[in-house]
């Protein structure tokens, strides 16, 4: 789960990580009301769940309050990578002497929370990682001990020279780790972490993601969820035990199992089509799941044909077929459907499914090719 920058800043503040003053506003009127009348340099930032907002014009500076209102008006309602900006953060701009990067991630290789830091702040850290990986300091953290102050200092010393600055930085790192583990985060970045001319160390921009599997025990984090249109559909699917991701193509697909669902999308692409979605219905033969899945899938107006791809394992194909027959009977649609069933009791399953009158094939390749043909009609 993703949260907005202003929410990450709120969490930072709660954990004692210093951030400049700022308010989040949904409308121009809110900017007029909530931003103080004092004229000073401010930064107005679009709050969206995609990167590259700066390049898209979603971050602007303002010298006066009037200018802040004007810039907020320009950004609110703007489209950034298909997402409409509904909120802006109006924050005090600070003078910057130096910029740094600090972040925490779950590292697959060391199987630990890993602290990353770099003196190359303010730019995309992925770029730094690619071009000059030696400029990124990494430290895996022992989960039984946590990030100890001496370890945080060890990192801070590599970024700062002055003892007071080192102490401020180390303090921020320890608090960021505490925030990270206590909220089951999967990414926590301060980029940039800055040193101001008056020697204050501040978090200027923050990004946090959270582990979906841990949301059951993170009620406060869950309450911060502000999903966009596509994310809402994914959340709705999740609540029904389905895993759905909308894509840009026109061939819908419905599959049991995530790996097979990915392979199905790939197959559609391999034979010249474009998948409209990723959709994993899991391992049961429950007709209701199929009905729910079809409804979600067909709510996408781009879908011109549907490929159902089921491999029967423990749940046998004949059971799956019975479920499909019941489900397809309930769904009235003009969108052509092709079904592919394979695995345990495939023969029996195929016999049962024939009564739907829909095209039934035995291999993934045929199913993909048929779905592509049907989409062109």
């Amino acid at each position: 789960m993703k949260i907005h920058e202003y929410q990450a800043r709120n969490l930072f503040r709660k954990y004692g990580i210093p951030v400049p003053e700022g308010v989040v506003c949904h409308t121009v009127d809110e900017v007029k009301q909530n931003v103080s009348d004092k004229d000073k340099l401010r930064v107005i930032k679009a709050q969206v769940h995609v990167g590259g907002r700066g390049k898209a014009g979603g971050v602007k500076l303002a010298n006066t309050k009037a200018e802040a209102v004007e810039k907020a008006e320009q950004i609110l309602g703007m489209d950034i990578k298909g997402i409409t900006v509904e909120k802006v953060l109006v924050a005090d701009a600070v003078d910057i002497e130096k910029e740094f990067y600090v972040g925490l991630i779950n590292d697959r290789n060391t199987k630990s929370v890993t602290l990353m830091a770099s003196a190359e702040g303010g730019v995309e850290i992925e770029e730094v990682a690619k071009v000059s990986p030696e400029k990124i300091i990494k430290m895996p953290i022992d989960p039984s001990m946590g990030l100890m102050p001496w370890q945080a200092r060890k990192i801070a010393i590599q970024l700062f020279a002055d003892p007071k600055e080192i102490r401020q930085c180390a303090n921020i790192l320890v608090k960021l780790y505490q925030l990270y583990v206590e909220t089951d985060s999967s990414l926590a970045e301060i980029n940039p972490l800055v040193l101001t001319p008056d020697k204050q160390v501040l978090a200027i921009d923050g990004k946090m993601n959270f582990d979906d599997n841990a949301l059951y025990r993170q009620k406060e984090i869950l309450s911060m969820r502000e999903a966009d249109k596509d994310e809402l559909k994914e959340i709705e699917a999740n609540a029904k035990g389905l895993s759905y991701i909308k894509l840009d193509g026109n061939i819908g697909c419905m599959v049991n199992g995530a790996g097979l669902a990915m392979a199905t999308m790939d197959m559609i692409k391999l034979y010249g089509g474009e998948p409209a979605n990723f959709l994993d219905i899991g391992g049961s033969s429950n007709p209701q799941k199929v009905v729910d899945a079809m409804n979600i899938l067909l709510s996408d107006q781009n879908v011109k044909s549907v490929m159902i791809n089921i491999f029967g394992g423990i749940t046998r194909c004949d059971d799956v077929a019975r479920g499909l027959v019941i489900a397809l009977d309930q769904i009235k649609t003009d969108v052509p459907i092709v079904i592919r069933l394979s695995g345990t009791n495939a023969k029996e399953g195929l016999e049962i499914i024939k009564q739907t009158g829909l095209p039934v094939v035995e291999t993934m390749r045929e199913a993909a090719q048929t779905a592509i043909e049907l989409s062109k009609k």
Binding site: N213, Y216, G259, M262, F278, G313
Partner: protein, 290 residues
């Protein structure tokens, strides 16, 4: 021969009294797996599918000499169950449970290291040595004894590929579903090394997917350390960046973890990568000179 499990493996089921635990206990037993016990706190003395239930893994190990366990408890209790098994001296823990929080798996890792416990999963279908031992939820009937090893991050895609292998006459030594999470137990390299050292395994099929760089590491390992041929397939070539494709670990983040990079790494290691699953048996046969 085989890797990790064989006819002598003694298995206990953690969470045996639950719906999934009981159902798959009956399936595993029917296949011939030596299920020697199960655990469910406070239910010692009961029986499930003719298997004695114990209060703790420690009790079960003392009474039965079990050396493997399979976990079917809910996600919130999975890490606890893994650590319990590790402390009780179980060699191989297979965690079927899905949706286990990553921080829980991170806490588990040093405990496993301390006791030398091998973990498969979480969020995995388990593993099988055909005709000898099945641990997990794999559909037994598609497997056949033979000389091909298989490792996969997926469930149904694995079944799909195994079915094709079996249908084309290629049996398997041991098939392992390592699971789809970002932080999990044994991974590609650990298992490739075991296959390399297993006399019965003559070729290995590796099914990877987007996310992380385990496939790239595997490719390097194959190039430097393996004498046996490996054939690969990567799922998620059409997946968009930044979106989690069902599996918690299947996400292209910040431009890394793409299928393209993984395929490139395998090709650089002379590992053929199948364009689609159906091509896998042919590539294996080619490598084996069949």
């Amino acid at each position: 021969m085989s890797i990790l499990i064989n006819k002598d493996t003694k298995v206990i089921v953690q969470g045996i009294t639950g719906r999934d635990g009981a159902f798959h206990t009956s399936k595993m037993k029917a296949y011939g797996t030596n299920i020697v016990g199960g655990t469910s706190p406070g239910k010692a003395g009961q029986e499930v599918e003719g298997v004695p239930v114990f209060n703790s893994v420690e009790d079960a190990v003392k009474a039965t000499g079990a050396n493997a366990s399979v976990i079917f408890v809910p996600a919130a209790f999975a890490a606890d169950a893994i650590m319990e098994a590790s402390y009780a001296g179980i060699d191989l823990v297979v965690c079927i449970t899905e949706h286990v929080p990553v921080q829980d798996m991170i806490k588990v890792t040093p405990v496993l290291k301390k006791h030398g416990t091998k973990l498969i999963g979480a969020n995995c279908p388990g593993l099988i040595t055909p005709d000898e031992c099945l641990i997990g939820i794999l559909p037994a009937m598609i497997f056949k004894k033979g000389n091909v090893g298989l490792i996969s991050r997926s469930g149904t895609l694995t079944y799909e590929v195994v079915n094709m292998l079996t249908e084309s006459g290629l049996g398997q030594t041991t098939c392992v579903g390592i699971g789809g999470d970002a932080v999990s137990g044994l991974y590609f390299i650990d298992l490739l090394e075991m296959y390399e050292n297993d006399p019965a395994t003559e070729a290995v099929v590796l099914i990877g997917e987007i996310g992380g760089d385990a496939e790239e590491q595997a490719a390097r390992f194959i190039k430097e350390k393996m004498t046996k041929p490996v054939v690969a397939f990567i799922a998620g070539q059409s997946a968009p960046p930044g979106k989690r494709m069902g599996h918690a670990g299947a996400i292209i983040s910040s431009g890394s973890g793409t299928a393209e990079e993984k395929i490139k790494a395998f090709k650089a290691a002379d590992v053929p990568v199948a364009k689609e699953p159906r091509d896998i048996p042919g590539l294996v046969k080619e490598k084996l000179g069949l």
